[in-house]
Symmetry: C5
Subunit: 334 residues, 5 copies
């Protein structure tokens, strides 16, 4: 067995020994203190706040934990996983939290080793997340003392997942904030109506999907409370849910196409506006230029004295306009 | 057993006791009144209109229902689920309804606990949704009395799902309304033709998909009415349906690409319009400026007296135009 | 048994009784006429052209068909399905057809009940779709008389699915028509090249996908004609098909990105055109205004007499232009 | 047995009879010549270049092939499939080829019937695709003579699939050509960088996906060469591949969003350019009009003589400008 | 057995013979040197740096490796795969690396043949990738010598996959670089906020997905450390994770729609800007032209002397404007 002398002296592990009618809390300063509990009949929870490889290897030696499990625990970039080893079971979870802004989500790895009569939890920093669990463990009336170390692992996982919901709430707030910002400009427009309509469909889908699942589960269930005779009826409403889902999907697709058409419509209208502008500008800008030329005050402009100059100019105006109109007609602009 | 003294006195539970030839309705005001029915041979339905934790825990104690089931019932944010416990089966469903506008869909949780000879239904508020079921239960000729509590649960679920169809109809109305609004502008356009074409394909797909499924089911069925000898033939038409689906998918993809090309086409045309405008404006606006300059009435404008001023101005006009045309040619604008 | 007195007198059911060497056609006007055939050894086909609930319930009583099956048949909004009951098998199919335009697809529900020695087909209106099947049944040399009622059901399904192909052809025509319309404008453009390229890939995929499937089926097949020794070789070409599919997918993704880039490119070019126009217009329009001001013919315009007015105006022109150019440079417009 | 007198006289079937140490090639002109080989111990390959229904039915009669198999072979619109019948196995494949341009892919159906000691291959036109296989069959040292008819079918399928790779290469060439065309315009732009980045990710994914699959296969493999003890380690690297795939997906999504932002950015900039133009034009065009009015040379224009006309005009200019600026401010255009 | 005389003389294979307490390294120059190790009890690793078909066929003959395995090894375009043969197991992997730029990813095929007591690794070029494994093999205290050849294959695969992570890091750098480039322009804009929000959701999803998986694994696990009694609780938090995922998906969809609305909004605003410009320009450009006409200095312009010419011109101005306004109103432009 590995000597635990060289363990960081500042380190102190929390050990909770418990049974239905028993509860003790110890501060472990030397790993050899753990050995007596191993074969004991009492259950215990060892909480380690450190990713120190040496320390964890020491613990692994005592409990016969596979080396790969320790590797997974120490590597804090691990994705959540559950792995079964011969003598124990490894569960790597991630705690998510934000310190201030939702755009900075931080992850903390929390690992659990579940053995026959023990749970070892390993985290990098001490969070107050598990305080509630500690309190419940101290309470002799609670369920936790009666149940095994896997139930303890469950309550700790539960605490972690409850934290996710807090995050989800913050995300919701941000989404709503974005929604307000974007919808502010055109809260009465067609697009916002479509948006709300889509949301209604989402909400129905959110209910109808799991409903289909439970009816499917009913069909397959072998529970004695569900008789075979009822199955054709259940199958009937199961198919109703399938039908509703199909219809929702069809409507969703229709609406997507409608939005596409709406957007193309905007482009088409913009094109029409552009054409109007271009036609008017293209016809009159050159004409205005010609008028401008003969508005110049040069002393020597021979055309000014010509008798039919003015008439000719109007002829030019009319011919130029006619040419332009013909050109635009050919281009099918109007 | 928990004392039921502190149960909200305003509360009254409806209890329906029934058998093929028996029907009774009771108002339960004290939970202890329930005990006699537990071991009885008669079936009963207990309808609870309350999410009061204490009340439900009291009921759970009497029927031996798992504490987690009560948690799920009380938490009205639960998603629909079916969970099997040792002594009973929990089914959490959601009723959906709108009071006026389809954009405000409201959800009401309805939970069912199915036991050996009982059904407990729990809802938050009293809806008239179950009235039809009550009437059918009172009818001695109906099927419901002969069947077990799971059949009763089925009929209640059926009532809930029928409500979904009402919602679906409202959604349809809204979708059609949106369709009318958007298509109004260009009901003869190419896009509306494409939209209708897509809808036709959707409708065919809606029929052909389940047809494929039933032929697949036929192939796998072990029903005595379906002989093995017919299988190769069934397989043959099964493959026809597969082929039709593949072809529909290919056409759908083609049409998506066509719409894309159509939209790009609009952009390209808009670009062309823009170029025409820009070329005309860019050439003539500076020229018009120059003409404007020599149309000014200042007394001291030396150029006005120059002999070749007018000619030079025309030279400038022509050179500027040539430069512009060269520039646009180089940019490949025309 | 239900009295059939109140059956619609106009109703006449077609009954075909057949065996390898026997064929008879009856017109049933009273349901009691059906009873003798039930336990007979001969096979028969009953064709019902009605969704009348009462009539169908009467038939159901005679044949012992589950009430839910009748519900499914009568509800003409049913999606296609296959359901096994104790005494029979229900198959609900949909016939699709168009009267004129492909954009109006109509669906007709056709249901089949397959029993030990009978087939009941139920449709709402009489179509000539099944005429071919009747002719084949009358032909003593045909296969149909030898086979059971499930084979008869297959031939009827076959007739329905053949109808789908007619629809598919009409859809194709419409798709091609749309293609012609959209591609007309730019049949030599890059986009049409991409479109054709994509179609080529689709066509290859259409062949390679089922090829992969059949090689996969070969690998798993337990046919005595396929020896185990050949398997590694088959696996080899199976992997070739997988590779081809992967490559096609990669190319498809590349092309999607290319189209995206192409479209962004158009936007970028349009932006450049816009900028040119804006720069020219923004510089010269204000200058032209100033020139216009001093082209006014008011009698009392003091600036006109100033000696350096003309020079100052040019100074203003140059300064304004410089300012504009500086502003556009700062905005990085050129 | 069907008389083969009416077989097309021009038709000649190729028959290859072979065994490990035996090879003979016959030209069959009458189907009755085939019968002796049926029960023989030698293996043979019959190559039919015709989709003539009568001929194929004749062959089917001799070999006891199911009529549906012949239907599938004759219908050249069949999708590839593998179907097992009692006496034989049908494999329908498609040969793909292009005569010149990749945009015109042509498909040729090739069907195989595999029996106990024979292979029948049916194609519509004679291609030189199978020449290589014939040569290998003539070679006494080759493996092909030792193996059964299914191995022969494999080699023919191999030849067909090799042809697909040629097509794939042509598609690649076309894709690259398109890439060059589109990227030509902006080979240094951000978009082309993104395009290359995406391609890198695709290439990695192409390797990492099957790597994950093989590690998954290792985990599930029951090969004696893979010991159970190594499994946790393999699982470890399996999870690494999963992690890499997840990260690639996350990056891919990020880049899609980035491109979206980039394109929106272009739109926003275009909007800004448009606004600048519109503000300048909207302010100065009306002013220029007013200046133009008072530049007209009518003899009777009373305003021209007014003393404060010029000043008033400037007042109008300033007020109009102010009004415009106020309007644009209110519209939040700048 | 094949003679190995004609093997490339420059070729030298590395052979590592090892056992728990034994390690030897040989340079093989003749394939016949390999035979003694085949039936030996010691384990060995043969590293081949060559894709020479002849050499590999020689090795295959000695070890009884299937010819298809050699085909797969030599064909360096193979996708990664695992294939089981009678006497051995083939694993084809790909090493990925970049020499400089991430946009040029290169792939090197590395194949492994795992036999009873040997591992043969085949690569095309010698990389220093396996140096670490060699060092660990030389170390007598290491685990590698105790384990079989499959463990050795695992460590080599591990080295290859570690290399992927390096690539991934480079990809990340490039993605971040692109992000910086694109976001630079509008780091405070709404779009960048949405982008960050989406990233937060991605990060949560990255944790919550595997968490759901491990809870699902817990539910199905048959480990003795996980008691049945805890299952309902685990199921409870499992459903929480499902709910979180559903909510994230719903939010993601909402945000996608929001971005769509935002982009449509930009188009709509651009349209409005365009309309303003077009209205102003279309009204005033023709008017300015008319004013310009009467600003011309021709000597013979009869209108100039008319008494009501000026008034009439104003009348024309007003009528033209009115007509335009009416036209735009009819077009619903404002």
């Amino acid at each position: 067995m590995k000597s635990s002398d060289n363990i960081n002296p500042k380190l102190s592990l929390e050990l909770y020994v418990y049974e239905e009618n028993f509860f003790e809390k110890h501060h472990i300063t030397d790993l050899s203190q753990l050995t007596p509990y191993l074969s004991a009949t009492k259950k215990f929870w060892l909480n380690v706040v450190s990713l120190d490889n040496e320390l964890l290897s020491g613990i692994a030696d005592i409990f016969g934990i596979h080396a790969l499990a320790i590797d997974d625990i120490v590597n804090s970039q691990q994705r959540p996983k559950l792995e079964e080893f011969e003598n124990s079971l490894l569960l790597v979870a991630k705690m998510l939290y934000t310190k201030s802004d939702i755009s900075r989500i931080q992850a903390e790895q929390v690992s659990f080793i579940i053995g026959k009569n023990y749970l070892i939890s390993i985290q990098e920093e001490d969070f107050d997340l598990f305080d509630g669990v500690r309190t419940r463990l101290e309470n002799p009336a609670g369920k936790m003392r009666k149940m095994g170390p896997d139930y303890l692992a469950y309550t700790l996982m539960d605490a972690i997942i409850d934290e996710y919901f807090l995050l989800l709430e913050k995300l919701y707030d941000k989404t709503e904030q974005l929604e307000d910002l974007i919808m502010a400009d055109h809260h009465k427009s067609l697009l916002s109506t479509i948006y709300k309509h889509r949301k209604s469909m989402q909400e129905i889908k959110k209910v109808i999907w799991p409903t289909r699942e439970i009816l499917s589960a009913w069909k397959k269930s072998e529970s004695i409370f569900l008789k075979k005779k009822t199955l054709p009826y259940v199958n009937n409403i199961y198919e109703h849910t399938v039908e509703i889902i199909e219809n929702l999907e069809m409507q969703r697709e229709s609406i997507t196409t409608l939005v596409e058409i709406y957007m193309t419509n905007i482009s088409l209208k913009q094109n029409e506006v552009m054409k109007t502008l271009t036609i008017i500008a293209t016809i009159f800008i050159p004409l205005t230029f010609i008028a401008g030329v003969y508005g110049m005050n040069f002393e020597y402009m021979p055309e000014l004295q010509w008798k039919y100059a003015y008439l000719s100019t109007w002829a030019i105006f009319i011919i130029a306009t006619g040419g332009m109109v013909y050109y635009f007609k050919k281009k099918k602009w109007f």
